[in-house]
Amino acid sequence: MATVDLKDVKKIYPGGVEAVKGVSIAIPDKELCVLVGPSGCGKSTLLRMIAGLETISAGTVAIDGKVVNAIGPTERDIAMVFQNYALYPHMKVYDNMAYGLRNRGTPKDEIDSRVRSTAKVLELSGLLDRRPRELSGGQRQRVAMGRAIVRNPKVFLFDEPLSNLDAKLRGQMRVEIKNLQRSLGVTSVYVTHDQLEAMTLADILVVMNAGLVEQIGAPLDVYEKPASTFVASFIGAPPMNLLALTGASPGSVLADGMVIGSAPGQSKAVTLGFRPEDADITFAAEAPAGALALPATVEAVEPVGAESFLHCAAAGSRIVVRVSGRASAKPGDQLRVVARSEKLHWFDQAGKRVD
């Protein structure tokens, strides 16, 4: 129904603080774009600029090819799900959902049929006569979704909609949001700080840091080829292990002096990284060929059932290794952490990826 195009969007507050420092994102029709980043990275500000709740200091926001910088939130035909739901406390669920339609002069019987069919989809039919305070957290969340859906807007915006729910409900609602968004085919922008939500929901994943975009791409591409050490440490749980490289010949010596074979083209690298699941442990004395083998001491073992996380000290850093099932190692064990060469990531002085 609509594309959303951000071109070099900036937000500078009157005090001179630059919250968003030039962001360009193109979201194709019907796709769900997730903005993810730590708090204060500018993702919510960016979302509010798309909504029209914040003025745009520089750059353009275009919806369906039309620049909307000068158009207020009332006329943008966008619906937003707020973190605290922002349901109208003095209105019943029915009126909460009908409010937007009434404001746009929709005929009464059409409002009624749309509200009732939306309520049916969201399993809210029995709750239409209740007020928000009589609903549970999950139900309020559904009403907030319903209020957005019923209007059939061009774009959906989600501002951390699941962060007030408990873990189990969050998992359920995540799947529901994804299914709804796909079946309705409405272009959406979703802000979260939860990397799991970001990975599972996104068609396009935008990782933000300090007002800038660190990386844009499909979730698995971002996961497999993080563009920077920031992305590497933000996406993935537990995050990627990062080891500093030093020495006269850059990119080849670890902090504790151990020499590793450096591949050509990676001479600029000062950081080496590998994912916890791309490493394994061995008690064998010899290092396997074509792999990095770090002598390590196990500090802690975290069994979580299907897998275990080994926290080890190696090369002057702490690293995490994921092994499936129960771990054969116990705290205090000396062993080797092995990571295959093709699973290693290299980053330069500025933290950018080196291939």
Partner: protein, 278 residues
Amino acid sequence: MAPQLAITLVFFYWPAGQALYQSMLRQDPFGLKSRFVWFANFRKVLADPAYLNSIKVTVVFSLATAIVAMVVALLLAVMAEKAVRGKGLYRTLLIWPYAVAPAIAGMLWLFLFNPSIGSLAYLLRSLGIAWDPLLNGTHAMVLLVSAAAWKQISYNFLFFVAGLQAVPKTLIEAAAMDGAGETKRFWTIVFPLLAPTTFFLLVVNTVYALFDTFGIVHAVTGGGPGKTTETLVYKVYNDGFVNLILGDSAAQSVILMAIVIALTAIQFRYVERKVHYG
């Protein structure tokens, strides 16, 4: 006996009892002897056209004062909330009138609208209005309501500002995205959420206009011209201390006591049980 109980007895129950007792006495014109007449004073007062007129005056005055004070205060609060710069200054300046004593406030308005020397009276006359609160009862009432409302605006303003700040910003934003313009947002979201504040202020303002405006009436009109601005409280004073009809005056104050009790009951019943959202 606890001291607070002693104070209540001496300063509340004893005078109240005296009022009740005296409302059933009738004195001769020289105050030499009095006679117990049961409820004759009440019957006389309630049948007196001047008293019925005073009830009408009080209703008009109280409603007008409460409504004017609340509407103006709400308007000022909404405008002060919208101010980008100097919010604190606006608020401070708008709260000041509350610190002015009622009699002073009355004198202030009296001078401003005095037909012969008042600067605002001069302005009104130059606009073609034959302004004369000394002879025209309606004009006197307008002046009285203005003075009484002016003093109460600050108080209402303070409560409305607090009420407006308690309305979550995200609700306004959600309404904006739902296509509601500024006026519509105010009437459909902000105003309903202010309902507890508004109801509380309605009771407080009515009580203020009924019982706390003696000083203003006394300074501005003295109940005149004729009896066009003689409120119930002012009539108690007039009949008791000016005309020295103590029995009638006491009966009137007992009626006022009943009104206060009724209002307090309403306040406890509806205001204390606050309307809660969320």
